[in-house]
C-alpha cells in the first residue's frame, strides 16, 4: 500500500489505470560511489492487476525499467465503484499491493 499510488478512471467503457510505484529498480550494474561495491540488483519482476477475480493486466519487468516506475494501461469490462487491486513482486521476493475504486 505504501509504495503504490493508484488511480482508476472510467471514460465510456474504458477504464484507465495510472499508478506510480516507489521502487529503486536497481540494475545491479552500478557501483556505490563511496564504498566501490556493486549495488545489488533489486527490481520488480511482475506486476499484476486484478478486477472481479480476473487478471486484467500482467507485466513482466526487468532491470531496464527506471526507478519509481509509472504505469498506465486501459481495459474494458469494469464499472464505476468496482475494486481494482494492483500488486508487484520483485527479484528479492518482496511484494506490495494497493486497491482502489474505479471512479
Amino acid at each position: 500500500m505504501a509504495s503504490i499510488k493508484i488511480r482508476a478512471k472510467m471514460d465510456g467503457d474504458v477504464t484507465t489505470v495510472k499508478a506510480l510505484i516507489k521502487h529503486p529498480m536497481d540494475t545491479g550494474l552500478l557501483k556505490d560511489k563511496k564504498t566501490g561495491k556493486v549495488i545489488p540488483a533489486h527490481f520488480i519482476q511482475e506486476v499484476v492487476c486484478e478486477h472481479g477475480g480476473n487478471k486484467v493486466m500482467t507485466a513482466m519487468w526487468g532491470p531496464a525499467i527506471s526507478k519509481n516506475p509509472y504505469l498506465s494501461f486501459k481495459f474494458t469490462g469494469a464499472k464505476a465503484g468496482d475494486t481494482l487491486k494492483l500488486s508487484w513482486v520483485d527479484n528479492k521476493g518482496e511484494s506490495d499491493s494497493a486497491e482502489t475504486q474505479v471512479s
Binding site: 488511480r7 495510472k18 506510480l20 509509472y70 498506465s72
Partner: protein, 278 residues
C-alpha cells in the same frame, strides 16, 4: 535682461532635470509584461506561472499526467516534518517568521535595509537555524529544499509581492540582478534574456524555452533531469554552466540580487510551488 534670462534658463534646467536617470522597477515590470503579452497574445496573464506548459499543449499534457502523482509530494511531507521539529533549544522555525512561517513565501526575497543584504527564503531558513544554535543546512537540495517546498506549498494561491524600497542599496541590488539577467556571459556569450525573453517559446535542441514572466512562482522545483527537488539558486548555477560560464555560489550576493529582480518581474502572479518540470 540678459542676467534675468540666464537665471530663468538655469532655473528651468534644474526643475526639468529628472532625479533618476534609469527606468524604475515599476516601469521595467510594465515593459516586461507588455513584451510577453505581445509575444504570446493567446496566453492569459495568470497562466504564465506554468512556464512552458502555458505555451505548448503537447508538453502540457505530459506535465498534467505527471501532476496526477506529484513527484514533490514526499518533499513537502519531509519539509513539513522538518519545519515542525524543534531545535535543540526548544524553539521552532515558526518563531523566526511572520505568521509562524505559514503562507509567507510570496514576500521573498526582500531587501533588508538594516543589513544591506537581499534575504531569500533559503537564507532566512538557515539564518533561523544559526540564530537558534543549529548548523546551517547545505544549499540547493536536500533538507533546505524540502523545507522551502513545504513553505511554498502553504503559500500556494498567494500573489508574488516583492517590494523594492526606495533605498539606494535596494535599488543597487535590483540593478545588479537586472544586469545579470540581461548581461551576456560564458563561452557561449548568452544572457538569461537571450533564452527566456528574446527566444521564449523557441526550441533549444530538444527543449522549449520558457518565458521569464512567471518563472519563479513554482520554486523549489522537482526537475525530472535532477530526479529530485532543487532550489532556484541550484537552477541559476546550472543555467550559468549551460552557457559555459563559471557559476556563482548559491546564495552569493550575485544570485540573491538576480533572484530579487527575477521574482519582482513575476509580481502579481500567483504562487504555485513546489512545481514539477522537465
Amino acid at each position: 535682461m540678459k542676467k534675468l534670462l540666464t537665471i530663468a534658463a538655469t532655473l528651468g534646467l534644474i526643475s526639468a532635470a529628472p532625479v533618476a536617470v534609469q527606468a524604475s522597477p515599476q516601469q521595467d515590470l510594465k515593459e516586461f509584461r507588455a513584451y510577453f503579452a505581445e509575444r504570446f497574445p493567446d496566453v492569459p496573464f495568470k497562466e504564465y506561472v506554468n512556464g512552458v506548459y502555458a505555451i505548448d499543449q503537447a508538453s502540457r499534457e505530459q506535465w498534467e499526467s505527471i501532476e496526477e502523482f506529484p513527484p514533490y509530494e514526499l518533499n513537502i511531507d519531509n519539509g513539513k516534518k522538518a519545519f515542525n521539529t524543534p531545535f535543540k533549544n526548544g524553539k521552532t522555525y515558526a518563531s523566526c517568521f511572520r505568521n509562524d512561517g505559514v503562507g509567507i513565501k510570496q514576500d521573498y526575497p526582500y531587501y533588508d535595509t538594516a543589513t544591506g543584504k537581499v534575504v531569500t527564503l533559503e537564507a532566512a531558513i538557515n539564518d533561523c537555524r544559526v540564530k537558534n544554535g543549529e548548523e546551517p543546512l547545505k544549499w540547493d537540495k536536500g533538507e533546505i529544499a524540502d523545507i522551502s517546498a513545504y513553505m511554498a506549498y502553504t503559500s500556494r494561491g498567494n500573489k508574488v509581492n516583492v517590494v523594492i524600497p526606495n533605498d539606494e542599496g535596494a535599488m543597487g541590488a535590483y540593478e545588479r540582478g537586472k544586469n545579470h539577467f540581461y548581461g551576456k556571459r560564458g563561452q557561449l556569450n548568452m544572457s538569461c534574456a537571450d533564452c527566456h525573453q528574446w527566444n521564449a517559446g523557441n526550441r533549444i535542441r530538444a527543449d522549449l524555452l520558457s518565458p521569464a514572466l512567471g518563472h519563479t512562482t513554482h520554486f523549489p522545483v522537482y526537475r525530472s533531469k535532477w530526479g529530485g527537488l532543487g532550489t532556484i539558486h541550484r537552477r541559476y548555477g546550472g543555467c550559468n554552466k549551460q552557457v559555459r560560464a563559471k557559476p556563482f555560489d548559491s546564495q552569493s550576493d550575485e544570485y540573491r540580487a538576480l533572484e530579487l529582480f527575477h521574482t519582482y518581474m513575476s509580481n502579481g502572479l500567483v504562487m504555485n510551488g513546489p512545481g514539477a518540470r522537465k
